[in-house]
Symmetry: D2
Subunit: 456 residues, 4 copies
Amino acid sequence: MNMTFLQELFNSITQRDARLWRRQGDTATPDHRRMLDACRALLESDGEASSISLASRALAMYQRLDEEERTRFFERLASDFAADPALIDETYAIYRAQRDNASLQMLFDACEPRRQELFRRLNLASNGTHALVRMREGLLERMHERPRSDTRELGAIDADFAHLFGSWFNRGFLVLKRIDWNTPASILEKIIRYEAVHEIRDWDDLRRRLDAVDRRCFAFFHPAIGDEPLIFVEVALHRGLPQRIQPILAGEHRDIDDPESADAAAFFGISNCQTGLRGISFGNFLIKQVVQELKQELPQLKHFVTLSPVPGFAHWLAERRNDETLPDELRQVLHELDAPDWHLDPARSERLKTVVKPLVARYLVDEKNAAGLPLNPVARFHLGNGAELHRINWLGDTSPKGLKQAAGLMVNYLYVLDDIERNHENYTANATVVCSGEVRDLNRRARKMAKGEFAK
Amino acid sequence: MNMTFLQELFNSITQRDARLWRRQGDTATPDHRRMLDACRALLESDGEASSISLASRALAMYQRLDEEERTRFFERLASDFAADPALIDETYAIYRAQRDNASLQMLFDACEPRRQELFRRLNLASNGTHALVRMREGLLERMHERPRSDTRELGAIDADFAHLFGSWFNRGFLVLKRIDWNTPASILEKIIRYEAVHEIRDWDDLRRRLDAVDRRCFAFFHPAIGDEPLIFVEVALHRGLPQRIQPILAGEHRDIDDPESADAAAFFGISNCQTGLRGISFGNFLIKQVVQELKQELPQLKHFVTLSPVPGFAHWLAERRNDETLPDELRQVLHELDAPDWHLDPARSERLKTVVKPLVARYLVDEKNAAGLPLNPVARFHLGNGAELHRINWLGDTSPKGLKQAAGLMVNYLYVLDDIERNHENYTANATVVCSGEVRDLNRRARKMAKGEFAK
Amino acid sequence: MNMTFLQELFNSITQRDARLWRRQGDTATPDHRRMLDACRALLESDGEASSISLASRALAMYQRLDEEERTRFFERLASDFAADPALIDETYAIYRAQRDNASLQMLFDACEPRRQELFRRLNLASNGTHALVRMREGLLERMHERPRSDTRELGAIDADFAHLFGSWFNRGFLVLKRIDWNTPASILEKIIRYEAVHEIRDWDDLRRRLDAVDRRCFAFFHPAIGDEPLIFVEVALHRGLPQRIQPILAGEHRDIDDPESADAAAFFGISNCQTGLRGISFGNFLIKQVVQELKQELPQLKHFVTLSPVPGFAHWLAERRNDETLPDELRQVLHELDAPDWHLDPARSERLKTVVKPLVARYLVDEKNAAGLPLNPVARFHLGNGAELHRINWLGDTSPKGLKQAAGLMVNYLYVLDDIERNHENYTANATVVCSGEVRDLNRRARKMAKGEFAK
Amino acid sequence: MNMTFLQELFNSITQRDARLWRRQGDTATPDHRRMLDACRALLESDGEASSISLASRALAMYQRLDEEERTRFFERLASDFAADPALIDETYAIYRAQRDNASLQMLFDACEPRRQELFRRLNLASNGTHALVRMREGLLERMHERPRSDTRELGAIDADFAHLFGSWFNRGFLVLKRIDWNTPASILEKIIRYEAVHEIRDWDDLRRRLDAVDRRCFAFFHPAIGDEPLIFVEVALHRGLPQRIQPILAGEHRDIDDPESADAAAFFGISNCQTGLRGISFGNFLIKQVVQELKQELPQLKHFVTLSPVPGFAHWLAERRNDETLPDELRQVLHELDAPDWHLDPARSERLKTVVKPLVARYLVDEKNAAGLPLNPVARFHLGNGAELHRINWLGDTSPKGLKQAAGLMVNYLYVLDDIERNHENYTANATVVCSGEVRDLNRRARKMAKGEFAK
């Protein structure tokens, strides 16, 4: 394959016309009715010659709609751009009579909401793809603000977006890219903005995270929205498995001064960047491809591991503490979590450690959601990817957020290359939570504790 | 938008694994049954973790199927990977009961042939997109070889491909790229291979066509199949509108030694490269974007014009000559076309010119197909794009092919920027053939000739 | 020329071996004697096979010398690596006897200080060029710290560097590059660091300066030290000639929202980045090439102008005020410059303006240095480049620095494309200071004022 | 170091002005007198503002000089642009009086031929570097055509070029680049043209050589003449050391279908591309850097070896055959070399092999030039680089050229990474020819044969 040439290909992709939209917009403030007219005009065009400008016009108009008019636009999109019931009935009758591919095809075409063709055509405009992702973002915000019962119709638009984006953002079209201090500032400022796990405060903080021999950061990009990362992961090279996040974030923990002396790669933050792409899953592909990249660059790496938060644990634990069936002794120790700065008091911390570590093992391994999968979303993600629940780190995250959401605990999920596939299959088929002996022991202790047995 | 960065993005896109497939293939020769199993396994996976390798395995297996097994595979794809009739009936009943978006969505999902999800998942593999385009190419060959009545079922697969490719190869994802003597050899050899209008004999011939101040060539590419052009157009810069193709092909016609002295850009060859993308239209987008590029580089350009063949005219004329209602005088002159090398005899050529030029005007303007559009496909393409039928060039193409298919005639279609939209709309709405006064006059003469009136 | 290919060329240029040096260095702290030995070994090698590693070793050793050892190294470099007097005498005798090219060549070779060959060989190492530029920087610091009389010998090394760098950094090898928000962060942080005219405080400040439709920034780079800018210039697009720097630095002055509506390009900061390249002139080439770039991007631009400081004016003026031959009235007004925040008092400012503007015109036009050229270095630079001294802007720079060094004045130098060459020649040949009518009038008034004539 | 950014740097480097020269040239045919005036004007300019256009004008004028005028131009360049004898005398007197660096510097400056400053200034023009390389090429042609005694003066110009080019084309400025089928056609056609060892017939031949998993080709480029390779080397990946060139050239010898199964990299052609850079040595740097690249890509490679011709051997052998001191038996066998197609006759070939292989060992090992180094230039090159004379291959090159120049023999020089440095030093210091036991044995046999001892 030809790499040189590809690099140059993308010069033209977006220069086309930032300018175009700006100029095309007329000055009158548009309302949702004119927006709907613009959509209809686009759908009625032949999809070719004049469609690019019709699409640009419609998207430019959408930019200028105020929030209320956008809401109305979405509502009418749901009601007026579905499919033609008469045509569905008619094609269904045919299909019923002759159940072959040709009549199925007609029925399928009749059932496709007209919105999908509308979105495909809007995509003809320059930067159309990103504009559509942003449009869905706006839609999701509206759905979020409403009572669930009321999102049924808007949900239909969302399903159309999801259907198309699933096709457009197929992993086959994604590109992995290393992010470092040589990355353009325009990308880096997005990394600062989108980091969701451990906040990046400013450029100096970013530099500490990225610009060191023991750091790696990778993101997925899509050619059509080339300067917007879709998802990124931060990695620290390490000797041994890391237990605590603060030294990593502080950039102090340079126990290696040569990447080749590291034996572990620790994934300490995965952030989705585009709300408008919710439900399109990139994370597992990202982790697997990053593992490959790292293996190639640093063949000596032995361990691929996360240093992950345990969101929801504190909440679960709080409920537990009210559970009167718990042995008093246990509840008493847990009470110490209410002491301010408990983690700075070694004796107290040690007492808590004895009971909380087992409990988090229990929480992660045994607590399930309605689907029979782990209650904890981070566990679901990594176990679903084929990782192993490997180690629980006491005082792994002593930031206010870390103390609040998980009593300062962090977890290592381990990706053992040879086991990933099998783990994944067991998880998918049987909801098996693969965990290390250490975690199993902790869980066992938790069960005993629940029965009042406290001795190790 | 960030251009620097984009250029680099695409380093990784295809290096991933040419190697991967090769290694993955086991050695046993596969048959269509194992291929179908591989497809089912892919569909039954959860679409994430293990899907990439399942997709790669399936595509690698397809590469190794022999032609017969591929045929069987396609037949089973048509029959076994459609949709579930029971589920369709069920969701239709719901939809019938409650005609809202949510139930429509369910019906739509039920009607989607499972092939579409299969193709989306196959696209997870490296180079999957191109492999699927090639797969459709193989499908189209099979459909072509069968009687039309027999292609109904295979046609369903083709419709699925067309549906997906229409989405994936949306113009918003295409990239325009100049092709010249600095283009990688691996791309240039494809230009040689794919040139469909005027054959390129070898590298020297290619160089004459591309590597001169008065030449431009542009192609559309798709990021996921980056080193395969989708369609390209060849342009000669010119002073005035060109009338004859041979000097252009010979590279002799350098009447300009500075691109800035040209006032016309002549499009003399548009070639589609990927049979597997049949029906996905790129040509009109290409022409319009190339016009923009050229305007930007050379603001002094005034005329954007084609030098186009008239395929089918000779065939149409041959039928006409048998038409006994034609005046004898006319038929007698046309008889001279049978003389060998008639075009080298100035007197004979002059006699023929007097009657054939009007006839070709008539053929292009008045002869319509079943849809009421011009019979000639090249005319349909350019008129549909909004061009004007501008001039008919006698002895425009004196190659054997040109003489054979169109009595040596070539046509200029003129793209007048301010008229394109209007022309396009008139053509779309009313099938109006916009032509110059000169062509109108010729057509008028043709009508008179048909009545026996030969004087100008 | 082939652009695609060139882009890729430079992948390899510096990856070679950041690592190399690190590993090569042995652990013993080196002194200047070992460094001199390493240099001798390099000079005695045959310049080919083993030279790269010898060069790398020597440069790595230099990195580890402490400041004192470096000083000694330079002193010995001056004394021990000059040329062989005996050989010079011998070749001169030959040349004296036969004054032809061949004997001149021998004499020339004999006279070349051995340092030059040493530096050429050190340049074989990866990143050698930058290391040598940094080495000269260290040398210049030492020369700066010594009394002038004592720099004679070190000056010889400096002359050798200057000779080589003049050849290596020939303008034919420089590359102009636009700097904007898409530039890698690693380059941008250097822009922050090197800005010498109007300090850039932080990343936000940088963004205000760079990332707007009305801003441009260009830098020269050299392929061999690719990520180090050599010199850069900041430009603001403007409607009309700008008078005040504060709105530009604040990024408030966006009187244009479309670059195409600007008619002037204002150069408001030129910064040299590499102290080690002192004396190698880039500035005039930079300005001229940037003017070309801007003309191409924005053909409507009419004025290319600077907004320049007047360093030294306040100093000159202070001396003037002590000059008893000046009319009392004049001295009295100038006295008001001592009032704190005088520029905020409109009446006082107006009074000062009447006398100070003429005086700065006089300072710039009539005050000359020993070479008969303008005393003011900024004036020398722009007039020498062929610009015209166009306008004096009252309260052009009201920053503390601006008030202190030039009583808040700024100057527009205007580059009139058709006049540049002629202006330059007049300046070079006759030291002619080309200025506008307005400036001439001001200067005339200054002369009258000096004679006590204050009326306009 | 910042790779992304570097890639983009070079966009601008040469686009500047192909056009410029064309336009600048006036129409009158210039002669050497006007050319000399143009050079003087350039030298008298201040080297800055107007110098670029003066340089462009002078180079454009040179392009239009006819051959005779160029000759006169060179002659005058030699006589009129040397150095000022009076100034030399004067500065020498000063130096003689005070032998310090400052006076040496003055003397050195006085001795530098003015041509060097002229060439540095010509280099200011766009593409000036390449134009100067071509200018030297023209100079070398003239020197070649003249009797040696007559080249003394032109030789002075050549020395000036060599001095400057040695500095400009310092290895620190060179860039290694892989050449393959994705390389731009404009570069590839130069590879076809410049291949000096084994002619490349056409594009198909080139493709066979380059576009296969077992082939590599690398070239050095210089940023300022970016699309002109300076030197390139062709490599075949191999299992074991290759003995014969024909299978490699034919592209038949794919004994590997995966580069990772090769254990040897065979360098089978090194070609210098720029006659104008004669004497600037790139070859050894190239080989060493290519070895590094290959080691990185394919760590399993064990042998780095050449398959080299033995130019001059046939000539040497022919002289030997006339040497009457040779044993008759030996001379008789050698006589068989005169038989047409002797290499196709197995018996004859076998007889010849017995005596010729020892003789070539002797030729390579023992025959020395005036400097005491091997007579054979290819041996000098590789032994000087630190390689070992490893194996002599009978019928290694059965092309007409191979048979004619070296009785069909080829040689493997082996680069043993750990020995390179030591070999190189022994060669440089003591002219030691490092060879394998096999070659030593052959040489011993040759000595015996010379004494009439033929038994093995």
